[in-house]
Symmetry: C2
Subunit: 213 residues, 2 copies
């Protein structure tokens, strides 16, 4: 493509588009930030870079987000929200049984994580920043997924499908036991060799839920 | 302490001690390297730093290890060897039952990991380097621990304590399910909030091994 050979000319100040406002601008900032984090990495991206891509002044970006950290938090919240939607859809589309639904949730968590890491090799950098700078945002996402697991375990106990004394604790164990398949760091940075296929792990965990306490 | 106020004078060339050889030197290099990785971090430590601390020429260090990577691999192999010794000791000291032994192994893996991360806040840097540069060394350690789990699951199947179709696969599930408690990155970088107590997880997993398939 010949256009790739033409260096981008920096925009003169006068070319900056008039400042905008409203939810559309907020979305455009997030989309641009997400693309920048994916292409040049979270650490190297500055608010000025994001503003430049949008032909906007940095001051206008700061009208919507008070810091790069705030932009990052909104980006990861959006990604986590997508994961939670996949989980909700998986529950909806699975069979009526709690075991089937739990399997579907674990598969959805793994699939969204794996697809995202493959599409974004710099995902790990965003995750590390989220864990160290914005743990609360991560914790809220983990908690929302935990509630889905807990609801399904309770369902299974109610129907007699599962045999557990403490559904909340069993759900937490289930959730924690699949971290190897659903955590971006482990999924993207570690070879799969040695870990059991996801279906074997699901079967193993469901057996624990069904077994006599 | 007044001595802390006196800056270390770099040793003049003539003060370098005569070159040594033999297993003792190898050990001293590893001890010094481990301390440097702990104190200034793996990335910032150079072979020259290690040699200087030992009052040795870098060339002498290279007689024992061909690169910093080779030193690092030997250091992590030693740490992993210590973990494997703790695991072996846990099996020896636990009760005769396979379930008791499996619990003891998981506790030993968690304890060595947690203690090491606490003693060395830069552990994560060494782990990241090991995963990306020396995966084979990590894989060999994981495989050795996997064999312990498999042996114990087979024992439990033989005595009728466990009810599993495929002991090797069940052992791999067990091993993978405890990664949250035994992986330096997760143990050192993530808050414990939300994860079940280790004893609850052990009980949950043992229930899966005992349950009717």
């Amino acid at each position: 493509m010949t256009s790739a050979a033409v260096p981008m000319t920096p925009l003169p100040e006068t070319d900056i588009v008039p400042e905008e406002s409203g939810p559309t601008t907020r979305c455009r900032i997030l989309e641009t930030a997400e693309a920048a984090f994916r292409e040049i990495g979270y650490q190297k991206t500055t608010v000025a870079d994001i503003a430049r891509s949008l032909r906007m002044s940095p001051a206008n970006v700061y009208r919507f987000f008070e810091s790069k950290k705030a932009i990052h938090e909104a980006v990861i919240q959006r990604l986590m929200g997508e994961t939670e939607q996949s989980v909700a859809l998986a529950v909806e589309n699975a069979g009526a049984g709690a075991a089937d639904r739990i399997g579907a949730v674990i598969r959805a968590l793994h699939r969204t994580c794996a697809e995202r890491c493959e599409a974004n090799p710099r995902m790990q950098e965003m995750v590390a920043a989220a864990v160290s700078e914005s743990w609360d945002v991560c914790a809220q996402h983990i908690e929302r997924v935990a509630i889905v697991f807990e609801t399904l375990v309770r369902e299974g106990v109610a129907t007699g499908e599962f045999n557990v004394d403490d559904p909340k604790l069993a759900a937490a164990c289930l959730h924690t036991a699949v971290v190897r398949y659903c955590h971006p760091t482990l999924v993207s940075q570690y070879p799969d060799a040695g870990i059991p296929p996801l279906e074997a792990m699901i079967a193993f965990l469901l057996k624990g839920l069904r077994g006599v306490p």
